[in-house]
Amino acid sequence: MSGNFLHRQPILRRPDGIGGALPALTLIALFFVVPVVALLLRSVTEPVPGLQNYAILFGEGTYARVFFNTFLVATVVTAVTAIVAFPVAWMLAIMPPALGSIVFGIIILSMWTNLLTRTYAWMVLLQRTGVINRTLMDIGLISEPLPLINNLTGVTIGMVYIMLPFMILPLVGTLRAIDPMTLRAAALCGASPFDAFRRILLPLSLPGIAAGGLMVFVMSLGYFVTPTLLGGTSNMMLAAMIAQMIQSLLNWGLGSAAAFILLLVTMALYALQLRLVGAKRMTGGI
């Protein structure tokens, strides 16, 4: 019977789906799962079996400071990115599609440009003898160069710039789904534009902000290149510390433990996101 036949089709198809996914799954198993397990083992076996690496990481002020720095930078970057991205996303959501796709293209293009190149460009702009400071001094606005690099300011500027697309894209999706009539209704009921934003638009766009915000936050946690080049040693983040442990101190046990903690935090945040936003929105909503 036809009903039965239709019913059976997805069951028949399923094995094919798995077969097609095999190469990717094998890649992930070989080059992600296996190394991660090895990493975990290393963190509890080197130099001797036990949890001493974790005790050191949680017990010493230096590492606590690095953890704090990492979360501070990620939080600041996420907040600034959200504030800067929102107007852009709103503009994209209400723009005529033809124009919107051009702006979209520009944003995507910036994502495809080499990260290192873009970070070096910021170095040239931000340093004491850089374009920004030179210009400001030439027109007499400042007499001493502003400290824009080798500190939190430099890291924030460079990272917000890189993270913007990751906030804008999910946000546009959410904002597009909001019925513009709700805003008009708010206006008709006497709400000021700010009230309409605060009480209608902002709450409705929260899932997009949460999705983008978490993506930016998680990416920021593990960032290496930009903080290293634009930050100072007192803004050291976890990724740079791990590199130092692995490359120059050759303390792989400690490095592995730090990397594993970073992974755990990331996964915990992802789980939180799934609960808050829902898996469907996360994977299909963007």
Binding site: A38, R42, E60, T62, R128, M236, M241, Q247, S248, L250
Partner: protein
């Protein structure tokens, strides 16, 4: 599991491993490796018929991964001497076969059972003449913010040099530097910490000084030499210049050990060392090399500034490397 990870890592790294008539030389890139290629690899290839593949930059983590994973892709590696002493102790290096590598003329300061000298250099005080008023005359001036305001640049990694500079500036006599008084050194460094810009590669140190981004700093003499050659407006003080060395090592398990030994013989020969010194501004580790060099090059090398010169104590550093590094990075992160 540990073996699996290192195995995978090593297998990936070994993708660059050399064939039998080839070997891989790894160094720090930039002008230094170019000079090594020209002065050592080229004549070696011509004489032996063994092709020398260049790789880099040197990465101690990679070196360790290769040796532990049993898949060594590098045959000769240029490393810092304190690392070499430590790595030999950890069993990461092959002993040098001095039947193949003639030892007689090698500077004994830079020769060990597991390493031969690559070149040696001095840390000198260099400055951008446009960015500094007056002339700094010694390390103490780097700590004098009233007389010499502005950013100063130091080597970022935990390595022989900066600690010693701080102690000298604080009045410790040169012959009383070791064992290093870390508390005193960090206290002295605290006084200028906010004005320090760290450099982590030779090229960056040049860029910082040449642009005036940092007014002055602690630089490798070869990098200052290159700046001067390029016509940059820089000054240098050799007072209490500090020597340290790079050495050449063969990672344990190198597949082209025989070729690697022969390469070391060529690289440390008087002629190759002279060529390299002329190209790089770094000093030869072969005592017979000076006779092969033009007089004006000899004059520009650390050898010409032995008065007051300080030999950084590589054995002390090898012994205390981890302990100092821990404090160093903790202090930096503060």
């Amino acid at each position: 599991m540990k073996l699996i990870l290192t195995g995978i890592l090593a297998a990936l790294l070994a993708a660059t491993a050399a064939r039998a008539d080839e070997m891989v030389f790894t160094s720090w890139g930039g002008t230094t490796q170019e000079a090594q290629t020209k002065s050592w690899a080229a004549p070696f290839e011509a004489n032996s018929g063994i092709k020398v593949l260049q790789d880099g930059p040197t990465d101690y983590g990679k070196l360790k991964a290769m040796v532990e994973g049993g898949s060594v892709a590098w045959d000769v590696v240029d490393v810092e001497m304190d690392f070499a002493i430590k790595a030999a102790k950890d069993g990461l290096l092959e002993p040098i076969d001095f039947n193949v590598v003639p030892k007689a003329d090698l500077d004994p300061r830079f020769t060990t059972e597991h390493a031969v000298g690559s070149f040696y250099y001095s840390f000198v005080l260099a400055w951008n003449k446009g960015a500094v008023s007056g002339e700094p005359t010694g390390w103490a001036d780097m700590f004098d913010l009233t007389k010499f305001p502005g950013k100063r640049t130091f080597y970022k990694w935990s390595a022989p040099g900066v600690i010693e500079i701080a102690l000298l500036a604080d009045g410790v006599p040169a012959d009383k530097l070791y064992p290093l008084d870390l508390d005193r050194a960090f206290k002295k460094l605290d006084t200028i910490k906010s004005e320090i810009v760290w450099w982590d590669s030779g090229a960056q140190s040049q860029q910082l000084i040449a642009s005036g981004e940092a007014a002055f700093g602690q630089l490798w003499n070869g990098r200052v030499f290159a700046l001067e050659q390029d016509g940059a407006d820089v000054g240098a003080s050799w007072k209490q210049n500090m020597t340290a060395a790079d050495v050449l090592v063969i990672p344990k398990g190198s597949k082209n050990k025989a070729s690697a030994m022969k390469f070391l013989a060529t690289a440390t020969s008087a002629k190759s060392q002279a060529m390299f010194a002329e190209a790089s501004g770094y000093a030869p580790i072969n005592t017979a090399a000076k006779a092969e060099m033009p007089a004006d090059v000899v004059k520009s090398l650390p050898d010409a500034y032995v008065d007051g010169q300080i030999n950084l104590d590589m054995n002390y550093w090898a012994e205390n490397r981890d302990k100092i590094a821990e404090r160093w990075y903790a202090w930096q992160a503060k």
